[in-house]
């Protein structure tokens, strides 16, 4: 017995040592880690450094250490709080619309009769439009002169121009466009999920005399819940950090009505060139995103994971 073990060891020693799973993972991910270090970690660290300085470009570049002054200033900045509330309004509306429309689309796509099934592939197209392009597109659609509002009014014989990009509802209009852009992807994943539910479960629901709503709740929804959670998180983060779409569609306007946090940050940092203050405020955005997704996970995600 002892001989047997030692001979096995000897045989093992002759082969080149196997690397552990962890070392292998480390080796294959080194290029990505290096890349992330360069494009994320360095700018993040630099922004962190900037946030403690006052940066001036006039009269030559200068950086003066100001400690936590930039952070304190954010708390007293009226435009920060109003931008933050716009960000929340845009995010909540976008998430609800995206998930709602995505789920609706998925249900429609699932029940398409055979000869219309190719539409399932076509529905992904809106997602293929870049947010930048979608912004330009929805800007034209929303304007009084060129928009759908005026066109629909004209159809009913009215000569009024209807501007959808109004100070009051511009956030809602932006949310509709963002949902248009993102919902097809959600629909696609939810549809894939739905198709794994055995048809027989619907038969069981019929025998149990479930109503349509109960059938949706007990048969259709359960396998989708985790996907819905994941996309709620993804859409939340995407909506909070959206910039290009809003930049091309409304430029934060009319007035400052759609100046969400990212747009306000852009103006502070790159229009007013107040880089230190902008950097400090951007860490508040980062915190908001982290806390929001954290709350989503603790209140909802953990429950879905256990199933």
């Amino acid at each position: 017995m002892a001989d047997n073990v030692s001979s096995k060891r000897a045989a093992g020693a002759q082969r080149p040592a196997e690397i552990s799973t962890f070392s292998f993972a480390l080796i294959v991910s080194i290029p990505v880690l290096l890349f992330l270090l360069i494009v994320v970690a360095y700018p993040l660290a630099y922004a962190f450094y900037l946030s403690f300085n006052e940066i001036r470009f006039f009269g030559g570049y200068s950086a003066d250490w100001v400690g936590f002054q930039n952070y304190a200033k954010v708390f007293y900045d009226q435009s920060f709080w109003s931008s933050l509330s716009k960000t929340f309004r845009f995010t909540i509306e976008t998430v609800i619309l995206t998930l709602g429309v995505g789920l609706g689309l998925a249900l429609i796509l699932k029940h398409l009769p055979g000869k219309w099934r190719w539409l399932r592939a076509l529905i992904i197209l809106p997602w293929a439009v870049s947010p930048y392009g979608a912004g330009i597109f929805f800007a034209y659609l929303g304007r009084g002169q060129t928009g759908v509002g005026t066109a629909v009014a004209a159809m009913f014989g009215s000569s009024q121009t209807i501007n959808l990009i109004s100070a009051r509802f511009v956030i809602e209009y932006l949310a509709v466009g963002a949902a248009w852009n993102m919902a097809p992807l959600v629909a696609f994943f939810l549809l894939a999920n739905m198709l794994t539910t055995p048809q027989r479960l619907y038969d069981l629901a019929k025998i149990d005399r479930m109503s349509r709503l109960e059938t949706f709740w007990h048969v259709t929804l359960p396998p989708l819940r985790f996907t819905i959670f994941v996309f709620t998180c993804i859409t939340t983060v995407l909506a909070m950090k959206t910039f290009d779409y809003i930049f091309t569609e409304t430029q934060g306007g009319p007035g400052g009505a759609s100046s969400v946090l990212t747009y306000t940050l852009y103006k502070i940092s790159f229009v007013n060139l107040d880089l230190g203050y902008g950097a400090a405020m951007s860490f508040f955005l980062l915190a908001v995103i982290l806390v929001s997704t954290g709350i989503l996970y603790f209140l909802w995600g953990r429950k879905e994971e256990r199933q």
Partner: protein, 364 residues
């Protein structure tokens, strides 16, 4: 509990005939097994009995009442599906509860019934668990409890055991039969497994290509198959088939082919001579023998030892596989020439044109 009648049921999907002119009666308290290969229409038939699929034409009657247009719950049937389907996010108890939620019974009555059903199939200790926490056999029992809790007129099972492993299948088979006899409910059991059908059914209905080939007791189906398909599908090892012609000589009837001449006696002795005929004989009714004009020359292909006997699989003279039961422990090298005989009284004769058993005029 109910007597279920199917009258001239037809179901077509587009141009495809899933079920054709099906007539069948399942007696009150009977366990009928619908047996057939996949795609034979057995599940479609069950779906029509359940009310999940509407027949293209024909009638379904429960205790003489036409229920063809009624929805599943109005028919008061219960169903157990393949792989014991349950709502995955509901506990075992809530899964059973869903069967009675819309029954109009009081809360106490429902709980009492759930407790009784759980007791009947011995799952009381599992009621708090989710389906994902249960084994295949336990899920199967919960699905059964969910079905019997409704006290249904008809109990329909669609291949409920096919996803389970062999030993579990064996014990649940007996459990289901025992349960059916205890609660004396009418049961239709769909399967493609002929052993399951033979061991469980009071009667078996064999289906193929949307048609009922034969319906009868397991012994009947086994000993007196009405068609070539039933003869070949039921029984393990399967029936042997020999081609030949029927000739009358010396007042006796003979099966003749290039390698064999056997006298046909018994049931088919009065059959008319025919050019082409297929003779079917069960492997256990054949035995290895010396060479002779009534012995079939064979070449050993493989031998399967079953412990109590051995199945000798041979190549026949016309290239067909012939199985012969030999005593346990029988061995012979592959390629050995052997001979086998059988009694012409125990053979069944089929007409190759109609694939049905040969019609014999009753002798006065």
């Amino acid at each position: 509990m109910a007597r279920i009648e199917l009258r001239n049921i037809v179901k077509t999907y587009g141009g495809f005939n899933a079920v054709q002119n099906l007539d069948m009666t399942i007696e009150d308290g009977e366990l009928l097994v619908l047996l057939g290969p996949s795609g034979c229409g057995k599940s479609t038939t069950m779906n029509m009995v359940a009310g999940l699929t509407d027949p293209t034409s024909g009638q379904i009657l429960f205790d003489g009442v036409d229920v063809t247009q009624r929805s599943p719950h109005e028919r008061n049937i219960a169903m157990v599906f393949q792989s014991s389907l349950l709502y995955p996010h509901l506990s075992a108890h809530d899964n059973i509860y869903m069967s009675l939620k819309r029954s109009g019974l009081s809360k106490q009555e429902i709980e009492a019934r759930i407790a009784r059903a759980a007791e009947t199939v011995d799952v009381t200790r599992l009621l708090d668990k989710l389906p994902s926490q249960l084994s295949g056999g336990e899920r199967q029992r919960i699905a059964t409890a969910k079905a019997i809790v409704r006290e249904p007129a008809g109990f329909l099972l669609d291949e409920p055991l096919s996803a389970l492993d062999a030993s579990l299948r064996l014990s649940l088979r007996a459990e289901l039969v025992n349960l059916q006899k205890r609660i004396r409910t009418t049961m239709i059991f769909v399967t493609h497994d002929q052993i399951e059908a033979m061991t469980m059914g009071d009667r078996i209905g064999v289906m193929r290509n949307g048609r009922l080939e034969q319906i009868g007791t397991p012994t009947d189906i086994y000993n007196r198959p009405a068609t070539l398909f039933v003869a070949g599908f039921v029984g393990a090892p399967p029936m042997n088939f020999l081609k030949g012609s029927l000739e009358r000589a010396d007042g006796k009837l003979w099966l003749v082919n290039p390698s064999l001449k056997v006298e046909i006696t018994g049931e088919f002795a009065g059959a008319a001579p025919a050019k082409e005929i297929i003779l079917g004989i069960r492997p256990h009714l054949m035995r290895l023998s010396e060479a002779g004009s009534s012995a079939l020359p064979l070449t050993v292909y493989a031998i399967e030892q079953l412990g109590n006997e051995a199945i000798v699989i041979c190549d026949g003279p016309a290239g067909e596989k012939i199985r012969v039961i030999a005593p346990a422990g029988f061995t012979a090298p592959i390629g050995t020439a052997v001979h086998a005989t059988f009694d012409g009284a125990s053979a069944r004769l089929f007409d190759p044109a109609t694939e049905r058993v040969l019609a014999v005029e009753k002798r006065a």
